[in-house]
Symmetry: C3
Subunit: 204 residues, 3 copies
Amino acid sequence: MLITIYLIAITAEAMSGALAAGRRNMDAFGVAVIAFVTALGGGTIRDMILGHFPISWTQHPEYVYLVIGAGLVTTLLARFMHHLKTVFLVLDAMGLVAFSLIGCEVALKMHYATPIVIMAGMTTGIFGGILRDVLCNRVPLVFRQELYASVSLIVCGLYLSLQRYGMAHDAATLIAFSGGLGIRLLAIWRGWKLPTFSYQKRWD
Amino acid sequence: MLITIYLIAITAEAMSGALAAGRRNMDAFGVAVIAFVTALGGGTIRDMILGHFPISWTQHPEYVYLVIGAGLVTTLLARFMHHLKTVFLVLDAMGLVAFSLIGCEVALKMHYATPIVIMAGMTTGIFGGILRDVLCNRVPLVFRQELYASVSLIVCGLYLSLQRYGMAHDAATLIAFSGGLGIRLLAIWRGWKLPTFSYQKRWD
Amino acid sequence: MLITIYLIAITAEAMSGALAAGRRNMDAFGVAVIAFVTALGGGTIRDMILGHFPISWTQHPEYVYLVIGAGLVTTLLARFMHHLKTVFLVLDAMGLVAFSLIGCEVALKMHYATPIVIMAGMTTGIFGGILRDVLCNRVPLVFRQELYASVSLIVCGLYLSLQRYGMAHDAATLIAFSGGLGIRLLAIWRGWKLPTFSYQKRWD
């Protein structure tokens, strides 16, 4: 089930990446790179940090075709996409949660300590969007959005805690997934945000 | 032959990186870093993604001296450089093609699947310029330039196809090199571009 | 001793990262990421380039807690921080020097050639700040600051030379540390800078 959600999620992420590329008037190649990086960049950074070689997508060229194809198709469908805003927010939320769980599993299998497992989950969930924004030359959205990274943190923490206290893997995955998805959708609906830190003095 | 072209190409890339650093009023250290990253950054990212350690330039400190030296010399010669614009465009085109072929070979030797080999070639050809632009705080040029990444794609595809259909390695390299160089120069001359995707609605 | 200085230094770097995040009005998560990246990003890039897995901080989750905690505490103390400007400049200088020495040691243990050892030291000393600035969407400060990267270069060169000419490891460390710290503080005090390279012609 996580695989199906994963495939839907990387498709949705690739499409959102393509729209970001369009806002910078990129050409078809730029669209393909941003779509790829948004969808698979988080897992790439995770694998590079964990020393997890070969990197996952290099063993699944079909994922590469999927995200680049989704990005390019988006350029044709763009005019209809804003009608789908709600659909995309839900797919993106599912992706955030699924990526986080998958990231945790990769690090768990490599026997990293718990805080590193959580960071691997969060990196998978969030770094695609950070790379997208760096390549589009803007401050990453995730650093000032409604609860987003925090949802990833909650999902990873819940998943690990439930397993530690003896819950079966599949049940823990299901509960962490549903809980995370619910919190993320509530956060968008109610506009929940973390406190913002503003500091305007210049002295460095 | 590819090695000679490679050395000329990293020198030319380092010099173009130094000029980009000059447009941001960087100091000599900034120039050295941008020159290095423009010339050797693509291969570094490729090696980090493929898990190809040790990374190539760490075994060839002379490459490091060459590109940093070329970057610093550029700061002295800058006033004469715009007379050499055409020379640089040709050297850069040679670099793009040579980098792409070298990137393919590295991935081929590691037995990656064909799409990954092509991506390794393109990463080597293009990511130096992307890193340069990210460090200079602008949207990467390669995402909206005349046919550039596409040339890398064509070169890699041609090289692999020719070898698959039984052509000897050296002949395939020569044909892919000449073909790619020709297309790139034609693209600059005639202003060929990929279609651009513009999308101005804000909804994420 | 280097470990104590290292812990003080990553704390100071994390706090300076948090202030940079505050200048971009980031939320608590953004502050945590920028603090982490500023403090531990240089070592991460070094380990990823050298193929030094597992990456150092993944084996020391306490470092992760320290830097994220320091970043978050900074948001509470920010209004008092500009009184501590001098303290921070000294701590940052200590960090630069300590990071450089630690980076050299990691590469030395892996038997890399001397120029690569120096680059590993400089990467550790400087790339945290570069990543911070890229994520905050500005041209890295280190590319146009008072002698900074040059100090790292001098420290690494001095450290390696003294050892090569037979000085004991601890003595070489102490001399390189004191020398580097002195030069950096002099550079701030006297406003020493590298020559800047300005180039405004557009032709690429």
